[in-house]
């Protein structure tokens, strides 16, 4: 017993070092597995507050660009609205956008945006108080951003599509083939679409959209266009480089999508697992 205590006191610095190192490695490994990185997160009161405060200053530098983008979006929505007014059949089904009913959109402001790391996260200034919860999709007017991963009362963290843990169902606009969207960590404007079967007919410039096969995104939200594609090694499916519609380095406002049917659909799917 005496020897054990002697050993501990003699090596207390090394032991403390190993303990702290182990702790930080556990945090690191957790952060590399999707949906488990909740402990070390910037959604807490202090860091969220600092980012919110910082953003209230840096917001002014982006106002002009943001205004232009909102004007563009307004213009597009106005055009769509006038088209709807002429079409008397469509008049009966006016809703916010052309999607099916269960989806509602909640606007939020981005207060922190990473894009230079391998695993990037985005912080927004709305949380559970504004009924934003994990597993809701996030888009801008141009295309998808990511999925809400972690929320507190006032803040929400989005796992960006520029994250090696992110996998989102996406497919071609002109056919029903779909695959999963991943990122290889190189260019923040280019993401990769995998497992599109080789039977698909592709062309550079084809549009990639969400396919609505999960409860997260409705069908038909834009993602990007094909810039490059090739078959994988055993020639069974395509590897496609997709240029994003969004400029991921410059995001101001986002909309998170609430699917009020999500629980119903999930309860149906459960017994099959």
């Amino acid at each position: 017993m005496q020897q054990i205590i002697n050993f501990l006191t003699r090596n207390k610095h090394s032991l403390l070092f190993l303990l702290l190192l182990l702790l930080s490695l556990i945090f690191t490994i957790q952060s590399h597995s999707y949906h488990r990185s909740k402990f070390v997160s910037s959604t807490n009161f202090i860091s969220g507050g600092v980012y919110g405060w910082q953003h209230s200053v840096s917001d002014y530098f982006r106002l002009k660009k943001e205004n232009e983008r909102l004007l563009d979006e307004n213009e597009r929505l106005h055009n769509r609205l006038s088209a709807l007014a002429i079409d008397s059949v469509a008049l009966k089904h006016i809703d916010t956008l052309s999607f099916d009913k269960p989806y509602t959109f909640i606007k939020a402001r981005v207060i922190k945006n990473d894009y230079s790391k391998i695993d990037n996260y985005i912080l927004i200034n709305k949380g559970e108080k504004d009924s934003i919860f994990p597993d809701m999709g996030v888009i801008t007017d141009k295309g998808i951003i990511g999925i809400i991963e972690n929320t507190t009362k006032n803040y929400g963290r989005i796992i960006s599509i520029l994250n090696s843990n992110s996998r989102i169902n996406a497919g071609l606009k002109k056919s029903d083939q779909y695959g999963s969207l991943v990122w290889n960590g190189k260019d923040p404007n280019i993401v990769q679409l995998e497992t599109i079967p080789r039977q698909a007919i592709l062309k550079e410039g084809d549009t990639i959209i969400t396919h609505g096969r999960s409860t997260i995104f409705p069908r038909g939200i834009g993602i990007g266009t094909i810039v490059n594609y090739k078959l994988n090694q055993n020639k069974s499916y395509y590897l496609i480089d997709v240029k994003l519609f969004n400029d991921m380095t410059n995001i101001g406002f986002v909309y998170s999508i609430k699917n009020s049917d999500a629980e119903e659909i999930k309860s149906l799917e459960k017994p099959n697992l």
Binding site: H13, F17, S24, V40, S42, I118
Partner: protein, 168 residues
């Protein structure tokens, strides 16, 4: 709280805020950010309590991780360089470190440069290995480590020169 401790606390807070609010958003050439918050570890007093120093370094790294949503990579890197700082000091400064007569503020440029380079390189290798966490990307790790280290070392040396205490 005496004057020296107050200085350390002030340095800690200023470095954390500068790093989080300004330097993490530089993204020079797309991905380069200098991590100068480790100046706190570089300049900590030589005769500081070892356990306390390890704890503070771990905590400093953890704060960086919380702000950067990066798990525990900064905490691990900081703990490692805090633990190996005596080794770096001994290998660079030799005898004057052994006799505790060393003062970091009145060193020659060459010695200080060697010390900073050694610490920054160690920190960045650990940091980027853990961030990328995949040894099939070893070239990417090497590239990021090399360029970010250059950036960090230049900025760190500048800060050390600009904010030197005039003890004379």
């Amino acid at each position: 709280m005496n004057r020296d401790a107050a200085l350390q606390v002030g340095r800690f807070i200023i470095l954390v805020l500068t790093q989080v609010m300004i330097l993490n958003h530089i993204n020079f050439l797309g991905y380069l950010n200098p991590y100068i918050y480790i100046i706190f570890i570089l300049l900590a007093p030589i005769n500081i309590n070892k356990s306390l120093f390890l704890f503070i370094s771990f905590f400093l790294g953890l704060i960086m991780d919380v702000f950067g949503d990066s798990g525990g990579i900064h905490a691990a890197a900081c703990t490692i360089i805090a633990f190996f700082r005596p080794v770096a000091l001994r290998s660079v400064f030799g005898l004057s470190y052994e006799f505790q007569t060393l003062k970091l503020s009145n060193l020659g440029f060459g010695e200080r440069f060697a010390y900073v380079t050694l610490m920054v390189l160690t920190h960045h290798i650990v940091l980027f290995s853990l961030e990328i966490f995949n040894f099939s990307h070893i070239l990417l790790i090497a590239k990021k480590t090399l360029f970010t280290s250059l950036f960090t070392i230049v900025i760190t040396m500048l800060v050390l020169v600009l904010f030197r205490r005039n003890d004379s």
